[in-house]
């Protein structure tokens, strides 16, 4: 990181001495940006075949989860106030 400007990226200010909240905010930002899992993955070398298997698995999982979420959101439209009150 010596080639980049310091204290610009991946930096969070601490409000009112609440270091815990600031650290949690930083961790959230890093997790959402995928930096933490990237660093964990790079600890050991991941062979290209394992990497391809992992990518396809994650893609399948993402598709399944989004489709299931869509289905549940659609079906939850049934869960509403009864307009006919049991007729």
């Amino acid at each position: 990181m010596s080639h980049h400007l310091k204290f610009i990226a991946r930096t969070v200010m601490v409000q009112n001495g609440n270091v815990d909240a600031a650290y949690r905010t930083l961790s959230r930002i890093l997790t959402v940006d995928g930096i933490i899992e990237d660093a964990k993955r790079r600890r050991y070398y991941e062979k290209p075949c394992r990497k391809r298997q992992r990518e396809t698995y994650e893609m399948c999982r993402r598709i399944y989860n989004t489709e299931m979420a869509r289905k549940i959101a659609f079906l939850m439209r049934k869960n509403r106030q009864d307009p006919w009150l049991g007729c």
Binding site: M1, K6, F7, I8, R10, T11, V12, M13, V14, Q15, N16, G17, V19, A21, A22, Y23, R24, T25, L26, R28, I29, L30, T31, V32, I35, I36, D38, A39, K40, R42, R43, Y44, Y45, E46, K47, R50, N65, A69
Partner: protein, 192 residues
């Protein structure tokens, strides 16, 4: 949509789950502005005594040296405040407090605190190292410090905790974990 974000954010802070809640909310783009609004919405409005500023003027991101900002900590601007580097490896945690001009103030690690071998790779060891480093730095006249964390080890969080317990005031936390853009090949995967 904002309400969903705020509720998801509160559940995040409360339950302390991983990234799953956010991932389910349709891939929020945590742009700077939105994150800042969320911080200002959920955090209670408290008086800002240390930074000599009005109440609701807290910026989540640090002041850039180019653009003028009137935030001061005991009279010093952001770029003149000493830095505490924390290197949190998987087996040990090193802490070095340095001035803004790279003059060293204090250097401690879990090993210098008397822990040996596996005990160095614990959160308690990192906390004691943090307290010792803070004590040494306070003796040299350091009050506020910017923390730079490197690595994902067990002492990552507790070293910062130790610094605050030892009497230093942390004003910002930076993550400097080295992310190679496919540089050196790491060691082979362990087969347990």
């Amino acid at each position: 949509m904002t309400r969903v974000l705020v509720v998801a954010w509160q559940r995040f802070l409360g339950a302390g789950l991983g990234g799953y809640n956010v991932a389910l909310c349709g891939g929020i783009h945590t742009g700077f502005q939105r994150l800042q609004e969320q911080m200002e919405n959920t955090e209670s409005v408290a008086p800002e005594v240390t930074a000599n500023q009005s109440k609701s003027d807290f910026r989540l991101f640090p002041p850039v040296p180019g653009q003028g900002s009137s935030l001061t900590w005991s009279g010093k601007k952001y770029e003149d405040i000493p830095i505490a580097h924390i290197k949190a490896t998987y087996n040990n945690t090193h802490i070095q407090v340095v001035s803004a001009e790279n003059l060293p103030f204090a250097r401690t690690s879990c090993g210098t605190e008397g822990f040996r071998n596996a005990k160095k790779a614990t959160a308690i060891a990192a906390q004691t190292a943090g307290i010792a480093a803070a004590a040494k730095a306070c003796r040299k006249g350091v009050s506020h410090v910017r923390v730079v964390v490197k690595g994902l080890g067990p002492g990552r969080m507790s070293a910062i905790k130790g610094l605050t317990m030892g009497g230093l005031e942390v004003i910002s936390i930076t993550d400097d974990t080295p992310i190679p853009h496919n540089g050196c090949r790491p060691r082979k995967a362990r087969r347990l």
